[in-house]
């Protein structure tokens, strides 16, 4: 925590000094960005756009979470399901997701559905793969133990596989939320200009660099805060694992 504050403060000072020294619109000093941010905030413009963007993020990520965890669990549990989806998941995982934006425009039009689809696509594969890996890495000794004490398939799944895979699932969600934020901004910039993405494009093309940086820093904060939130939930759910790592 201490080093975080130190690195943040020194970067802020460096930025401020560099901005003032260069005296150019391209790199405005941090104080100017802060002022622009405050203006955007008090006018209500930032919050209005942010809430629109975050709604897209929440819906898209929830869908990705639901679909990703379910498919990941099935792929990890059943060889046949894994073989069936393996190739597509891996191909789509490494493909540039932005390539699908035109497809979504054709399928869902230019509305919010397309933006939700982009968020979903950005986030879902990393969740699938982490969940699947988590299930596949479950210690076979534990499964055998459960079976020996008379556990049925259902009980093995819910009492052994799911809790054992939870740390990996949470890691997938942590990576997924970061990608979802990327998807959110990408969708807003490439589809219809709305929300945070629209502000970035607008200020970027009008050389309002102080406002531009204010919005970009807001996006970074959103990414950081959502990841922290998932991390916090992770610690709550899998505290037993975190403690092992410390030892």
């Amino acid at each position: 925590m201490g080093t975080n504050v130190l690195s943040f403060l020194s970067l802020a000072v460096l930025w401020e000094v560099a901005g003032r020294a260069m005296n150019s619109t391209l790199i405005p000093p941090l104080s100017q960005i802060g002022a622009a941010w405050w203006k955007l905030l008090s006018s209500g413009k930032l919050l209005a756009n942010l809430s629109m963007s975050l709604t897209t993020l929440a819906i898209g990520f929830s869908l990705a979470m639901l679909f990703g965890i379910v498919l990941g669990l099935l792929m990890g549990r059943f060889r046949a399901v894994e073989h069936f989806f393996d190739l597509y998941v891996n191909a789509l995982m490494s493909a540039p997701s932005t390539a699908f934006v035109p497809v979504f425009i054709l399928w869902f039009g230019l509305g919010v559905e397309s933006r939700i689809a982009v968020v979903f696509l950005f986030a879902v594969f990393v969740i699938i793969i982490n969940t699947m890996t988590g299930v596949k890495q479950v210690d076979t000794v534990l499964v055998e133990m459960a079976r020996s004490f008379g556990a049925r398939e259902r009980e093995i799944f819910f009492k052994i596989m799911l809790p054992a895979a939870l740390p990996a699932i949470m890691a997938g969600l942590r990576l997924g939320i970061g990608r979802a934020v990327k998807g959110m901004v990408t969708g807003e910039m490439l589809l219809t200009l709305t929300g945070i993405g629209a502000m970035i494009m607008q200020y970027g093309s009008s050389f309002a660099t102080d406002a531009l940086f204010a919005v970009i820093l807001t996006v970074l904060m959103v990414a950081l805060l959502t990841m922290k939130a998932v991390h916090w939930i992770d610690r709550r759910l899998t505290g037993w694992k975190a403690e092992i790592a410390v030892e």
């Binding site: 534990l142 133990m145 079976r147 020996s148 004490f149 052994i160 899998t238």
Partner: protein
Amino acid sequence: MRQSPANEGPVQNVQTVQIVRQPVRSSNALNELNVSNKWNESNSLVEIQAVSKSFHKTVKEQTTEVRALADVSLSIRENEFVSIIGPSGCGKTTLLKMIDGLIPCDSGKILIDGKQVTAPGPDRAVVFQAFALLPWRTVLANVEFSLELRRLPKEDRTKTARDYLRRVGLADFENHYPHELSGGMQQRAGLARALAVNPSILLMDEPFGAVDAQTRQLLQEELLELWQRERKTVIFITHSMDEAVYLSDRVVVMTPRPGKVAEILDVPLRRPRVSEEVRRDAKFVDLTNYIWESLKKAMENH
């Protein structure tokens, strides 16, 4: 090893007939002096009859057949403490899993109380080598796990689990997670979990193999005390000779892969056994040496 599965059937059958007799005959010869044979017939709880098992191992797309067990026959009386000892890879653990019903026999059968084993049942419980505790559950919740699967109501589960944790000396550690405990304490929890379902047969798979020497001796003593009180039938897998002799009524010596019964030895030590006294007893030393020789012979003949 062999080429087509079609050839396998008859070849294996021929071997079965040849080998079955050997361990039975040798065990009879060794047990001659003891009255236990008559007992065997009438009071046997676990009856292992000419059991064989092979595994298919695939390395670099080449599948070979590994014979783990060949014609193992053994009968175990109620309340008897039997150790099975043999070099690693002799199929001891495989045999234990088959008694538990986790894996099926290729040929032969295992009877418990006259009924053939097809799946794990409430009359058996396993204490695992690597403890097999659930890392996300506290010690208490781990012991409750076995009772949960038996559909016991929550209150009874907790009550029973606490009772058995007390018996293994873990009463003060019920809220600890497994990784917060030493290996010896983890295995005590494993033992409590197995005892909690009140099985008539306790299957122990090298349970003290992963703990240090002092703890090991302590756990052995505790196990004997528990066994004397609870009166269970124990089948105990080990590769330690003095552990086998100290604990058991009989010691079954197995040969390397494929595992066969080399000999079955009675342990003529009176109970209750006090560790320090027993280990100095001439009979203890003789028998341990004899098992050592027997294992060596089995390795050489292999």
